[in-house]
Symmetry: C3
Subunit: 374 residues, 3 copies
């Protein structure tokens, strides 16, 4: 790890996948619970500050709160409380250099900022990404098995008017082995009937997740998929992006982008998909901040065979303001280290390096999500 | 990446798996289509020159065509057209330092050089690797379900007389989960019957792919398997080399080499198989040129647990003369970086380093394929 | 690779998973057969000294036997024979700096030292880890289908009195896809009946392996699982730790540690489990010595997302005294390189680095296995 190259330090970024922020003050136990994908600490282990992300908080976040690098965790959390959650959020979000945040507002919306509140804290643009399953779970309550498809399609169309994209969390519910065929009207009705018969609450049905995705693609907005790394609710062995192959093959001619989020530890598999399928895009969000000073190694693996026109930046930050700052700073570090290595090896010119960074940092996202320049 | 060690720069190489070369001039779209495993470019992405392999072409190939390093893609392609495909082929092939090319002539034979034409362009030896499925697809047209086994065995025996080895593309057709048992006469007949009933065109039947492999092993020539990374026709999740475990266990006592090609991103899994099964050999061709300056990182991962006596060199170059040059140059870079790191760490002596390079570069291939020295 | 940091060179270690040592002299063929996970050498390959572990023996072990670094294999083995197996064992074991060895005595006990003999050779403490399947295979001979559960539980309880933990080798017998539910009394009886009907020898039954694990957890001792890398008996594709997800989810509330051993090449998957499940701990033993000077790269990958409170040290050394020395030396090298990189990047303070090393080197093991300090 070395100093950032100037053109990486100043690179405007589009964070194409993140979440809202917790606005209340958090105690140490809550802070640790939000720091990684662990639900909580346990007496079997030690503090979650004993991790690369924990070290990264103390290294990279402490100075933003006017503390010396590597300040102890307790000192850090005391200072954080003293400044208050809103000031902490403003400091970290405004330090990112991000021009556009795309927010998935579908997870724990009650405890997090809205998109509007987030934009105000960050002092920049924020856009909505609509979680398909949340819309379906909203719609199912007021409809019937036979009415579900139309009701969902209608509601998603309305939401699309102000959204930058959609997101599927099929990975969390049924895994990623979705069939390639668009489900028929009869299949959707039957599945909705099963869902209603089971109470119509948490959606977990391969046919319906697939129907949601196809409906999203019909509307022409990019569709994001949670892939790989997540919390203990995920069955990670069912979340290898390669399991999506049939669906990707079936949808490649539609001209609508599909974005594979996170991907770690399957990021090389995701890079393969980004190379061979025209409409597939990838990132390594979430892993970037969790891996601390190892983040550059992960980004370099992603870039081995993924074309630079198919790689995006995201933090997947959730809840803690620190995570936006870390995800961004460690992504910049990774990008800078990568092109610095390429330059040192004579493998690229500086013009190439600048272009690569611009594509991955914001141009791909602006093109794919049709964001205006500003 | 550093300068090549002299004994790596001068190392004679056996490229144990590649394909013929396109002899006609190619326009930019065709060049990009052949550059990676993507079928084509798309307005969703950007140029495929925006990739590590694209950068590698401009870095490493431009000087061979008398251009400065990092010449722009258009300038490069203009110069390429000016020299003409034959001259370009001669320059790149002769710059490789390869003494023997083993060519799989079974994919798109109409558009590529024959083995003889290739040898002439390269000014060195070229050998045939016979694609098992191509022979089967030739034979099935003139036979019956009950006659297929004998007809195939007979024809393969003839082809074996002038071949260095065989190749299975089961990975592309049914995946690698082949059973360990040799299929019975009755099973082969039944499968051939199904195939004929379905038209007898593109073979995709687990029993028959397996029968082809066992027949190849009977003839005592090394059998190559496509594994891992390939184009969008492949279901990559069915191409993990570990899926071959049952077949490898069943064939280990035959004394006939099985060669796992490419393997990326499963190359560590392949290395494991090369360590524990006496007859298994591995390479990281295809990934080597696609990953550009990251190729050394991939080769280093392969060499973690694969014995040096079980690792081979291949480019898997296809069509574009640049790919032979890149695959070779980046392999040399990887090998040089690997032993340089080992030497710097005191982990090997220079005698060890030279031996390792000779084994991997040509000695293993000469021993396994019984190539004469020259 | 660089010089060891002083606090890593002097770090006391707990080797939480290894085996006994062969006390007789070994000829070259036997030495090579025990060096890696290959059963034997073959004329198809070359010497197994042609590998990173082979180089590591000549680099790191030769000086302990008073030879120069990189002494040829034959010279090395001659000197080894001259000193005799007992002296060789003493030298290597005492050079490790290990305070506590946890020995799985369940594999080939007839040819290896007992725990007591081992402790005497090493001049330090050694503890028993009881292999669950060995106890079951002992018990089944003297009981009935209906009596098996009680007889096993009773015998395991007796063994627990002097054991530090248990170990499951389900991976070798049925793979790791164990269900999450504790098997019912009736299921266990039925499975024991099938086992007895089949001769009651080598256990390989998903229900029974699972029953053994739950019985071990009931007794409150840590349960180790073989995961990933092993010899050719393993079906490695069934040994991805992610396949244990259901069982891990079902057992997380018991407060009893589960230790995933080896994990290579799935160590990043294992690290994920260690992050999200409170009771999951991981190591990269076995790979550490096999990968020679590449071991640090593997350890760094493990530490990306695994909390430092959840990572342990083991060698998985078996039979050859060299393997304890190599596993330990290469682990120290990896740990030193990792924190040196973190220090150089400013990603941790020296206090952090020392704490990280102490946790991974011995503190986690002492806490989990409740070893007394000494």
């Amino acid at each position: 790890m070395t100093d950032l190259l100037p053109f990486v330090a100043d690179l405007p970024l589009v964070d194409h996948h993140c979440h809202g922020i917790v606005t209340k003050d958090v105690a140490r136990a809550d802070f640790e619970a939000m720091l990684t994908e662990a639900d909580t600490t346990s007496p079997l282990g030690t503090s979650l500050f004993d991790s690369l992300i924990g070290l990264a908080v103390r290294e990279r976040c402490a100075p933003v709160l006017d503390l010396p690098k590597h300040a102890p965790a307790d000192v850090y959390l005391e200072r954080r409380a003293e400044l208050g959650a809103a000031e902490v959020a403003r400091r970290f979000l405004r330090a990112t250099g991000t021009t556009d945040f795309l927010l998935d507002g579908g997870f724990r919306p009650d405890s997090l900022t809205t998109t509007g509140e987030f934009a105000e804290l960050a002092g920049t643009r924020a856009h909505d990404v609509v979680r398909l399953e949340q819309v379906a779970e909203d719609v199912i309550r007021g409809t019937t098995a036979s009415g579900f498809a139309a009701a969902f399609t209608d509601e998603l169309g309305k939401r699309a008017a102000t959204a930058a994209g959609f997101k599927s969390i099929a990975a969390y519910r049924v895994g990623l082995e979705l069939a390639g065929e668009r489900p028929s009207r009869a299949e959707v009705e039957a599945a909705a009937g099963r869902w209603l018969a089971g109470g119509g609450t948490r959606l977990a049905d391969e046919v319906l997740h697939r129907f949601l995705v196809f409906t999203g693609l019909d509307l022409g907005l990019p569709v994001q998929f949670h892939v790989g790394y997540g919390d203990s609710d995920v069955d990670l062995h069912r979340c290898d992006p390669l399991r999506l192959t049939a669906l990707l093959r079936a949808t490649r001619d539609r001209g609508v982008p599909i974005l594979l989020l996170h991907n770690y530890p399957f990021h090389r598999n995701a890079a393969y998909l980004a190379q061979v399928f025209e409409h597939v895009f990838v990132d390594v969000g979430l892993a970037t901040h969790n891996a601390g000073f190892r983040a550059p190694a992960i980004l370099a693996e992603l870039l081995e065979i993924a074309p630079f026109g198919k790689v995006l930046f995201s933090t997947d930050a959730f809840g803690l303001a620190e995570l936006y700052h870390l995800g961004t700073g460690l992504f910049r570090q990774g990008l800078s280290d990568f092109v610095r290595a390429g330059l040192a090896a004579g493998a690229m010119s500086e013009v190439d390096a600048v272009r690569l960074c611009a594509l991955v940092g914001h141009e791909n996202a602006k093109r794919i999500y049709r964001l205006e320049n500003g």
